[in-house]
Amino acid sequence: MADGSNKTLGEHFNQAEETLIAVSMGLMVLITFANVVARYVFNDNLLWALETTVFLFAWLVLLGISYCAKKSLHLGVDVAINVAPARVGKIMACVSVGICLAFSILLLKGSWDYWYPFVTTRAFLETDDVPIPEMLQFLSVWLNEGEKYEKLPRFIPYFALPLGLALLTFRYVQVAWRVFAGETDRIIASHEADHRRED
């Protein structure tokens, strides 16, 4: 581990992403567990618990896919890549990173199209049970013609879609750069390379 002082921006970003992944996991468990405790110990029901956990889940995964893309962790089939000669392998890597870029750009477009109405024409739509923190009420002035939000407006949790896919697109542009530069020959998790040692 590098010292705090001489870390690059990328390393800071890595650490921030890893911490976020861990914290979201922890919060999801704690909230769900708290709901069980509330029900049996305090005879109460945390109405917002399930929906909040679901949104945390969505944020965890949608933002996490770009982290996994950066680290080439996504699962795939590597039999053909492993037997292909170097030149063919390079072409395959270029094709597959192109396909990943196409996917992330198409879905980024879809996500934006889906999200945009929620922040404009349908900005009045609220979540079912998640309360809104008072400090976010300025949003009601900006987007809801001054009418106070009673619950968290939907465009906030749904923002995971465009944000996550924008990050994914960004990461695949970086990966594409590495593939073209010849620094890497695959964009999926490798099984063979790790375990080739025999004793």
Binding site: T53, L62, G64, L73, H74, L75, V79, L106, H195
Partner: protein
Amino acid sequence: MRPITGGKIKPVEVLVLFALVIILLFVGVPIAIALGLSSVLFLLVYSDGSLSSIAQTLFSAFHGHYTLLAIPFFILASTFMSTGGVARRIIRFAIATVGHVRGGLAIASVLACMMFAALSGSSPATVVAVGSIVIAGMREVGYSREFAAGVICNAGTLGILIPPSIVMVVYAAATDVSVGRMFLAGVVPGLIAGLMLMAGIYIAARWKNLPAQPWAGWGEIFAAGRDAIWGLLLIVIILGGIYGGIFTPTEAAAVSSVYAFLIANFVYRDMGPFSAENRQTGNILFRVVSTLWHPDTKKALFEAGKLTILLMFIIANALILKHVLTEERIPQMITEIMLDVGFGPVLFLVVVNLILLIGGQFMEPSGLLVIVAPLIFPIAIELGIDPIHLGIIMVVNMEIGMITPPVGLNLFVTAGVAHMSVLRVVKAALPFVGIMFVFLILVTYVPSISTWLPTLLMGPEIITN
């Protein structure tokens, strides 16, 4: 753009869709993106669906399927339970119980895998937790590396058959059957599969004259059992909690994560501020609270989060593909074709097994289930096959898919823990794969193996679809 084509898609166009998925997979595209992009292209070319509806489907993987929320929690519980100590205690207990039989260490390894499977919902996790300890142990007393690896690779697949099971959660979410019922249904088949593997090992041990461990006595059984009981209580919490109506499967999963966290930190002390290597002094209360942000806890949370992301990305994209298929009424089309051909239940199940076995060679189990389950579910109902029985058949197929190349997750993981090449593991696993095949045929044509226990405890299945 063409007009709405509901029901007008030709079979050949569906084949193009699946061919595209397979081609993309072999080029080296991640499984999730191969599924997602093929569906998007299919939708844009053959139908008039919008990109924004795809994004909505992607989000609904989380927002529309509350059952899937159990997955991260089961992964997390399994991560806390995999810290080493739990597996070691279970193995000690297994060796004390059956180690003195001929081939005892291998038989005990199967028993340990079965017990660990009851704490963990995943096969690779079971292989890693048990395999990394027993393979070295078996080598020491004279087993060949191949034999040891073959045993673990196969016994590890019980992780998805013995509850809890991530693959069963996915099946339940895809077909709207009850998670609790699926979990119960896995118990008897899991025990039978384990016993069949043990019997196979015993015969091989007689034939190859493999060693037996000395009988350690009842004292050791009780001592080891008392030590292992904290881990094994997890399955009691999960099953008892769900059937007792105390909590939902998702809550059961969350409670078991918290339980596993407490056991790992405070009872077994394999991680956190109370473990041997991190022993600190200072205020006891502060140390208790500090387990929440201890680096070991963070690492476990992060690892579980990472696995969740990888798995859910595949499942979410498989849901997009499923969305496209159902939108185009393709399950109905396939049902009609199959019924027109005059398929009976027996032949239908042969076809299901073939599709799943072939699919299982290339796909990650959860993703494959999400796609295949809605395709064959309506036909199965039409033919009077019990949905729970169908689910168990699918899970057993997934097990075999995990130990056959090219995409057998268990093969890769075993290669890692046994320090062997994947090809050697494939060969080593082969004799036991034969046993699993016999087991698959048994499960396929004797439905009561799967349905007896859930029907006994929860009453007969009511088919809602």
